[in-house]
Structure formats: structure tokens, C-alpha cells
Assembly symmetry: C2
Homo-oligomer: 193 residues x 2
DNA sequence: CGAAAATTTGACATGACTCAACTGGAGTGG
DNA sequence: CCACTCCAGTTGAGTCATGTCAAATTTTCG
């Protein structure tokens, strides 16, 4: 559980009491593979800090194709930001890819803490700033790069879990079909020699 | 200048003194069309609040193709977030599309104000939260939708300036070539009758 | 008015998709 | 522990969306 504290301490200094208050605002939960943490039409009530395991955040379009927005493993955050921030029903899904342990915080608890401990609002501001930068970079990658290059960036972004993910999920992250991904991978392997 | 105050007041309440301090932290500037506010390799020293006119934020890939990350008109913010937040050299450009007036704030001034007036850090947190949501939505649109649909979303996102932008810039925002954009637009016009 | 830039248009090329069939491994129940 | 089923992954043929190249035309602006 101190993984969370470590993470936050990289950006702001908390004293013992504040750390305790922070931890008390989270609920610890266990999830097993294939469980759904969020489905379309539901409100994303909690922001999720992943302690172990892997989550996937995705949405489904009119043609029933899935599109992965992000993966989250140890030390990363997950949540449908639109729904979590507005507390309105969202249109995305969060599923468990590998058995996971996570710390969950409701928006209300979060906002209370921001009032009580401004340093935590600062931490969150920094967290969101960084997410925004990462997202903008990914957007540019998608505009500029062909699938093959995007795959290489993906490998760099998720070095710890790249071998634990089903190919179809990687394909849906890259924005291509599983069939095309399979062919592309075959081509890359052949080219390596 | 009170456009800025109006904007901020939608999320936090400031008293006269705080408003003044906020305004003092910005510099007012005038720009004319085609001026560059930021070029590759430079540090994005200031966060920009557009009072009037239009800016475009873009980057250029290895094939020299431009990719527009965003447009900014009256009431919107602009800046290379990666560079502004880290104060390291960035890889993007900001140009003036239509003569503009803007308020500029350095990262240092901004951080000082966060310490002095926590409400402003809150405002900024909310601003970034919203940017993040908008960005994630655009990312999903790019993964899911064909160019034609993306164009419709673009029209909804920029209703005020959609007729003031060169087609090549719209194309580079959508992630397609100007030629293809031209053909697509022709097709859409013909279909309308 | 003239030069440069933006837009349009057409022929052709290609990256990525669809559909369909096949293979193989993981999980489940008998 | 086997047999069965069910996904995930692979592969091939044909197609479609979008790109490239090149030339003609229109617009912008000094």
C-alpha cells in the first residue's frame, strides 16, 4: 500500500498524519481476471490506483469494434476521466486483464481531501498535467505514424506488460484490426534477420 | 482583459485583490497573422490565453508533413504543454492564423501564484482536467471514426472559427492530406442535395 | 498586376480492412 | 485425463479508404 505513498512523495512532501489521512480515503480491493470494473452507461465512481495486475480501459463503437484507451499496471492510475470528473454516465469499459489489487478513491473523498490538504490537490494537478502531455503525444503519434511505428512506441510505453497482453488488445490500442496486427508482427519478425 | 477573469470565475471565486494579482501576472501582447509564437527547439516559456484572433499549435514529422494539435480562439488557451510544464525545448510550433491579442503567463509566475492563491491552482487543475477529457475524446474519435465523421466532430468543436481556417490546416488537424480533404468536402457538398 | 500559395482534379498506388477458412491452445465437464 | 468447445491467432483473396504524384485552376496578397 505504500506504493501509493511512494508515488505521491515523488511530487509533494506529506507528514505522517497526512499520509494516514490519504490512505484512509482509499479502499483496497481485489479483482480477478475478466471482471468488469466499469461498463458503458455507469458512472465511474472511483479513481483507481493499481497496486498489482493489469487493467484495460476501452470503449466500443457502433460497429462493435473495441478501442483501447490505456492499460494500467502497478503504479498507474485508471478511470474514465470524463465520467469520474463529471460524475455522469460514461461510455467506456474497464476490465481486468490479469488478477489485480487496487486502491479506489471516490471523487467526493478526493475533493474533500483537496480542501483539507492543498498539497494533494497539487499532486493531482501534476498527475493530470502529465497525463495530458502523454495523451497529446499519443494523439500526435496516431496522426503522424503508420501502425508499425505506433507499435514500437507502444512497446516503449509498456515495457513491463507488453508480453502479458493479448494481441487483440494491443491491436485495439494501436487502432488496427487483430488480423492486420498479426500480419504486421509476422512481417516484423521476418525482417529481423 | 476581463475575459480572462470571466473565464476563471466560472470555476472559482476571486476577490478584487486576487483578480488584480492574477492580471498583474500576465503580459498583454499583440500578434499579427503568420507570426510564430513558438518554434521547434525552443522552450515554451508562456501559457497563452487568447483574447481575440486565432492561433494554431502543430508539429512537423520526418516527411515534413504538418499535424495540427489544436486551434485556439477567443477564450481558449494555447501552449506546448510538454515544453511549458517541463521548461525544456519542445518539438512543436505555434503560429498566428488571424491577428491576435493574447495574455501570456510564464510558468514561474504561474507557480508563484499557485503558492499564494490556492484557488488559482484549483482553477488550473480544473482547466487541465477538462483538456485531458477533450484530448481523450479526440484520441478515441481518431481511433474509431473515418475522416468524414472526424470532420463533423471538428465542425462541432470549432463552430466559431470553422470558416476562418485554411483547408490545409483543417486537413492536418483531421490527419488527412489536403488533397483528400478537398475531395471529401466536394463529396459532402454533392451529397447535401 | 504578378508571384506565391491554396485548392481542385485525375490517375494510380498502397496500407489497412473485411470476410472466410483454418489452426492451435486454454479451460471445462464428464 | 480425455474430449469438446471456444477463443485467439494466422493466413489468403479481394476491397476500400486514403495517399502520392502531377497538372490545372483559383485565391491571396504584396
Amino acid at each position: 500500500m505504500s506504493l501509493l505513498i511512494e508515488n505521491i512523495s515523488r511530487f509533494v512532501d506529506l507528514d505522517r498524519e497526512e499520509e494516514q489521512e490519504l490512505l484512509d480515503s482509499f479502499t483496497f480491493r481485489n479483482f480477478s481476471a475478466k471482471e468488469m470494473l466499469l461498463e458503458e452507461g455507469e458512472v465511474c465512481k472511483e479513481h483507481i490506483f493499481v497496486v498489482s495486475g493489469i487493467l484495460r480501459h476501452y470503449s466500443i463503437d457502433e460497429e462493435l469494434a473495441e478501442h483501447t484507451l490505456s492499460f494500467a499496471s502497478s503504479g498507474w492510475w485508471a478511470g474514465d476521466m470524463y465520467s469520474f470528473l463529471s460524475q455522469k454516465p460514461g461510455d467506456s469499459y474497464i476490465e481486468v486483464i490479469e488478477d489485480a489489487e487496487a486502491l479506489m478513491q471516490t471523487r467526493q473523498k478526493q475533493l474533500e481531501l483537496f480542501d483539507r490538504i492543498p498539497k494533494l490537490e497539487r499532486f493531482y494537478r501534476i498527475l493530470i498535467e502529465r497525463s495530458l502531455v502523454a495523451n497529446q503525444q499519443r494523439l500526435m503519434e496516431n496522426l503522424q505514424l503508420p501502425a508499425e511505428e505506433r507499435y514500437k512506441r507502444f512497446l516503449e510505453r509498456y515495457p513491463d506488460i507488453k508480453y502479458n497482453l493479448p494481441q487483440k488488445d494491443i491491436a485495439s490500442y494501436l487502432g488496427i484490426t487483430p488480423q492486420f496486427f498479426s500480419k504486421m508482427k509476422g512481417r516484423l519478425l521476418r525482417e529481423e534477420y
